[in-house]
């Protein structure tokens, strides 16, 4: 019998309650926007004393069954394009593999602080650009007074759909998109690359499917769950082969997140399409602030800045608080939108 040399923590009741609560809100956000939660769950587990690699492994082990349940439920409402999800997931796997390799190289050359700085800068740059774009789009739709109408396909997506490359064209029926696979490959690859760096590939995958391929937001967020399932499943096997999955953490997270994801899925049927973009943009931009706060800490650890230890500790705390704020903001917007949808007279309560 071979055991990994890893210390698994003694779980306290407070830890269990915290995991259930974070799992619930993470599930709620995942059911609604297809991803999210991972950026809080991993640091939250680490703050309980769970080693980083075990936190990542346990997070992945709760992610794939959660994504499976979410995709199954959203498929009932006709939101999932399984073919698009599988095509994206295939190239995402290559992105994950290369991303892990890049991470390894950076860690070898610049150590732990260099690796942390790379991850934080990737968060800040990608989330600020993509989140800002998504927010701008959501505000434009809201101001146009056409928030009830079907989303308009972006100019870029119209061009992508117009490009005919013989032998590479694929039709994705649910998304109602016909594009060359040469466009989906780099998109899936970028999703996997981001997933391996910041653990939330959906922050590229969902906007990519919406703005590059022209898939509606509802379809893109649901299809992202298929990608999350495939990547989470593969990641779990990889970590399980090294005995790194703390099944207790994974299953406790799952207990909360399955309540949340069912509610998030129901929420998508009550809100206007642009609300999905609002939630996604809000989470992305708050997370960008969170990661931006720790950049000076890592620069200090690399000897490029000179911050007092107390200031560094404060920045770490503020950063984690912003991560929790991002998740809670997403959860509150979703629940408020659902209530508004219910008051608008649609929710069959009896």
């Amino acid at each position: 019998m071979e055991h990994a040399a890893i210390e698994f923590i003694d779980l306290q009741y407070g830890d269990v309650l915290a995991l259930l609560a974070i799992g619930f809100v993470g599930g709620l956000v995942s059911g609604f926007i297809g991803s999210g939660g991972a950026f809080v769950l991993t640091p939250a587990m680490m703050s309980m004393g769970v080693p980083g690699v075990v936190a990542v492994a346990s997070n992945l082990c709760h992610k794939f069954p959660k994504a499976l349940v979410g995709a199954y439920q959203r498929n009932k409402f006709g939101h999932v394009d399984v073919k698009l999800g599988l095509v994206m997931a295939a190239s995402a796997a290559i992105g994950v593999w290369l991303g892990a390799d890049i991470q390894h190289q950076i860690k070898e050359n610049f150590g732990e602080p260099g690796s942390n700085l790379y991850v934080s800068l990737a968060f800040v740059v990608v989330l600020t650009i993509v989140g800002g774009f998504v927010l701008h789009d959501a505000v434009t739709v809201y101001r146009s007074g056409k928030s009830d109408e079907q989303e308009r396909v972006s100019r870029l997506a119209r061009w992508v759909q117009s490009v005919e490359i013989p032998g590479t064209m694929m039709h994705f029926r649910t998304a109602n998109v016909r594009v060359s696979v040469l466009f989906t490959l780099p998109l899936g690859f970028a999703t996997g690359l981001l997933a391996s760096i910041i653990a939330v590939g959906g922050f590229i995958g969902v906007p990519g499917m919406m703005y590059v391929l022209g898939a509606p937001g509802l379809i893109a967020t649901a299809t992202e769950l298929v990608i999350a399932f495939v990547m989470g499943f593969g990641g779990t096997i990889k970590y399980a082969l090294h005995g790194l999955v703390d099944i207790r953490l994974a299953l406790i997270l799952l207990a909360g997140s399955l309540f949340g994801i069912q509610l998030g899925v129901i929420g998508t049927t009550y809100v206007k399409p642009f609300m999905i973009k609002v939630v996604m943009a809000a989470i992305m931009l708050i997370v960008a602030v969170s990661r931006g706060l720790v950049v000076p800490v890592y620069l200090t650890e690399l000897g490029r800045l000179d911050l007092a230890p107390r200031t560094m500790a404060w920045l770490h705390t503020a950063s984690f608080a912003f991560l929790v704020l991002a998740l809670c903001t997403g959860g509150i917007i979703i629940l408020a939108s659902m209530l508004r949808g219910h008051r608008a007279g649609a929710m069959p309560l009896k």
């Binding site: 199954y72 099944i247 049927t269």
Partner: protein
């Protein structure tokens, strides 16, 4: 208990499924609580087919608990709207 849907169709709430899946789900979590050490020890072994255990457990729990949570919201009357 009977509830009327938006299209006028009357359906009973899924209390039997809620109870059955609730018992299944809580039994699984009770086993996890009672045999925490033994389960953790077996699930972190890397020889033979032991690495498959976390994956199998995740599927089994997600099925039992997934049915329970779906019935839970339905019994509360929180249901998705088919467009």
């Amino acid at each position: 208990m009977i509830r009327r849907e938006a299209n006028g169709v009357e359906r009973s709430k899924p209390y039997p499924q809620l109870i059955a899946s609730g018992i299944a789900s809580s039994s699984l979590y009770l086993l996890l609580y009672l045999y925490e050490r033994e389960i953790l020890s077996a699930f972190t072994r890397t020889d033979s087919w032991y690495p498959a255990l976390p994956v199998v457990a995740a599927f089994v729990f997600s099925f039992a608990h997934g049915v329970f949570t779906a019935c839970f919201w339905e019994v509360l009357g929180v249901k998705g709207r088919k467009k």
